[in-house]
Subunit: 196 residues, 2 copies
C-alpha cells in the first residue's frame, strides 16, 4: 500500500514540524533543542531524525513553506493586467500571510522573528534565510519592473532596490504585529497613504 505509506510519512513529517513550531514559538529558536522537539512531538529521536537531521533542517522546511505561501500571492499578482499598484500588491501579500501563515495553532511569522535573530550569528541559518529572502525579493523585483513600465514608480526606479523596500515593509509588518499588536489594515492604510 504505497499510497497509505506516503500519506503516513507526510503526516508524521507535519506532526514533527508542528511540534517544532510550538517549541520555537514558546522558547525562541536558540533555546530550543532537538530533545525539546522529541518531547513535544511524542516521538523518538530516531523517528524525528529520519525526517529532520537537525534544527537547521526544521528551519529550512519552515522557511520554504512560508516562501511557498507568499509565492501563491505573487503568482496571482503577476498574472493580472494591469498589474496591481504597490499598495494593492502589499495588501494581497499581507492578507495571504496573515491568512495562511499567521493563522492556525502556531503563528509562523513569530518564528520568523526568532530565526532572523539567530541568522545574524549562525552562518547555516543565515544561509537558509538568505535563500528564502532572495526568492521573495526577486518576486517583488519582477512586480517592480511592471510597476515601472506602468509608470507607477519614479522614472529612475531600480526594480531590485524597490524590491528591498517592499521586503523591508513586510519585515516591518511582521515585527510590529508581534511587538505592538499592529493591525494589518492600519499598516496597509499607512503604506497606501505614503506610496505612489
Amino acid at each position: 500500500m504505497p499510497r497509505v505509506s506516503e500519506a503516513h510519512l507526510a503526516a508524521r513529517r507535519q506532526q514533527i514540524l508542528e511540534a517544532a513550531w510550538r517549541c520555537f514559538s514558546r522558547q525562541g529558536f536558540h533555546a530550543t533543542s532537538m530533545q525539546d522537539v522529541f518531547a513535544e512531538s511524542g516521538l523518538s529521536a530516531g523517528a524525528v531524525y529520519r525526517y529532520f537531521p537537525s534544527k537547521a533542517d526544521l528551519v529550512r522546511t519552515t522557511a520554504e513553506g512560508i516562501a511557498g505561501i507568499a509565492e501563491d500571492a505573487f503568482q496571482e499578482l503577476m498574472s493580472e493586467d494591469p498589474v496591481p499598484r504597490p499598495a494593492e500588491a502589499l495588501r494581497r501579500t499581507l492578507v495571504q500571510i496573515t491568512r495562511h501563515i499567521a493563522s492556525g495553532e502556531v503563528d509562523r511569522t513569530k518564528i520568523a522573528l526568532h530565526v532572523w535573530s539567530e541568522a545574524v550569528r549562525d552562518e547555516e541559518i543565515r544561509g537558509i534565510v538568505t535563500v528564502v529572502a532572495d526568492r521573495i525579493i526577486s518576486r517583488w523585483a519582477e512586480l517592480a519592473e511592471r510597476w515601472s513600465d506602468a509608470g507607477y514608480l519614479a522614472a529612475d526606479a531600480d526594480p531590485r532596490k524597490v524590491a528591498h523596500t517592499m521586503y523591508g515593509v513586510m519585515i516591518g509588518f511582521v515585527a510590529q504585529r508581534h511587538l505592538l499588536d499592529l493591525e494589518t489594515d492600519d499598516y496597509l492604510d499607512g503604506f497606501g497613504a505614503i506610496s505612489r
Copy 2:
C-alpha cells in the same frame, strides 16, 4: 572631588554597557547571562549590579540610547521649513543611525534584532521595546502630520498609520542590513522610487 567621581561613574557604566553589547552581539540576547557580562567587563558581580541590576536594565539603557540618537535626527527634521519629504526624512534618520548606532566597536542595530526576538516571549523586554518604539513612532506621526499639511500624502492619510509604515521601513532596513548586507543608499533609493 565630586566631578571626577561622576566622570568615573559614567565611564564605569559605559564600560559595562559596552561589555554587554559585545556579549549580546556575539551570543544573542537570550543566551547571554549576567555572568557573561561580569566576565566580559572584567568587573565583579557587585560592581556590575550596582549599575545594572538585571539584563532588562541593560536592554532599557541600550534601547533608550538608540531612541535618543534617533531623536536628534527627528529634532532637526521638525525644525525645518518646509518639512523634508518622506524619502529625505528617512535618509536623515538612517544616516544618523548608521553613523552613530551602527558604527563603533559594536553595531547596536544588530542587538536590536536579538531584542525584538526576545520581546515576543518575555513581557518585561516587550514592555521596554514597546515604550521605545512608541517614542519613535510618535515622532514619525508628528512628521506625517506636517507631510499631510504640505500635501505630500494621500488626502485621507492617518498620521499614526503612516508612522507605523515609516517605523516598519526602519525595521526592514535594520534586518536586511544584517541578514543580506544591504547598503543604506540602495534601500533609500528604493524607498524614494516608491514613496510620494
